[in-house]
Symmetry: C2
Subunit: 234 residues, 2 copies
Amino acid sequence: LVVAKEAAVTVATPVAVTVDVAVLTVRQGRLGVLAERDGTTAGGWRLPYESVRERDLDAVAASVLESAGGVAEARDALFVEQLRTYGPMDDGRISVAYVALVAESTLTPSSVSSGRVFALDDLHETGVLDEADARVLDDAVERVRAKLEYTTIATTLVVEPFTIPELRRVYETVWSVTLHPANFRRKVLATPGFVVADDDDQGATTVRRGPDLFRRGTAALLHPAMLRPVDAES
Amino acid sequence: LVVAKEAAVTVATPVAVTVDVAVLTVRQGRLGVLAERDGTTAGGWRLPYESVRERDLDAVAASVLESAGGVAEARDALFVEQLRTYGPMDDGRISVAYVALVAESTLTPSSVSSGRVFALDDLHETGVLDEADARVLDDAVERVRAKLEYTTIATTLVVEPFTIPELRRVYETVWSVTLHPANFRRKVLATPGFVVADDDDQGATTVRRGPDLFRRGTAALLHPAMLRPVDAES
DNA sequence: TTAATAGTGTCTATCAGACACTATACT
DNA sequence: AGTATAGTGTCTGATAGACACTATTAA
């Protein structure tokens, strides 16, 4: 008993707390989620996770992202944010959930963990995730939908240089709406620091053609906000 | 060693995870925070907390609120929300933080835990809270400031029936700004479900005098939002 | 050439913010 | 009376959303 109590303080903590990450991306006009094989359930999938030991929660989340999605923290733009903490679960575990946004081309699901990107709607219907992970996923999507309104995180889902319509398709996909192209462009360009023109546009040698190219601006928050249409779905 | 490992799963979890609650209120035109004596530090104070055992995190938060602040969950309006999770701390503990909003008159700091309500600014300067708690408090205030914009949580900080100016003072206190009385009233009344007229206004016997009285409406979200002035302080 | 999309211009309803004014309460 | 606050009316500038039109690209 004494041994057990000692263990409670020094050994036990890591086992009981996990960081679970919902890695979201946009591909082919649909929202995608990174999942990996669940060893405990035959045929099941789960959100990538890692146990918390002595490292800070944010560091653990970054580690999960790198080992499961092949995304290094330094690499390109990346949005990672703590979502909320759930539990205790049925197994007594506390689950600290994170959301991450990654451009599809940056995301390389790790083969060692049998990672795979699911389309969100497919995944919801077939019930390949357990209830807890599905809950996390719902919250993650809702958080991202809300944050598109007043932050620049949408730009982490496109590859530089990008066009305004590409950025618009991110909003349309995440919000499940269609937006007015003219008004969208106007709003984006009217918001300081959201995007900047890509002048790096190979010189006079090649004739530029196609839509205007942009890069991410320096702003993190949007003033004014990009409010979603009132009739937007859930 | 076997005993220790067993303990890690069944016994250990509760010890390592705490729920810490930042209970905020408005009194005398200032933001107040509930703190209690910190037994481990002479002269120190800390946010009320409780260890997580088998109960759900939200239930633990409600328990903290009740035992430290004398606020029963059922009683009156109340805003409680998970803030975020910090850690591991220096002592290896994971801290799941919550914010709560309570009207001053509803808050009765528990004498058993030597509870006391501090004015936020006093508390910040004197450094009576440790760094971790101060961080939680900052995040809590910022969360509440943001949520005043698009939710009805401000009404949990006034006592029914209340006047529009009373509600306005909540906004002014939390945001540290002065608002235009006429425009504020117009916006509140133009937002469906924010407040409803208090017709319950003792009959014809007593002559009603003073400003109009209202009660909380049924809406949780504000459409349109009550945006804070652009020049609002951090 | 036709269809689809990118981009510009402009109009209108709505809202935030400011100001002027009246009414009521407290001293 | 005089001051402070509650409440109404109204104006102006900014913004969201809609529509019309031109330019460019791909079949």
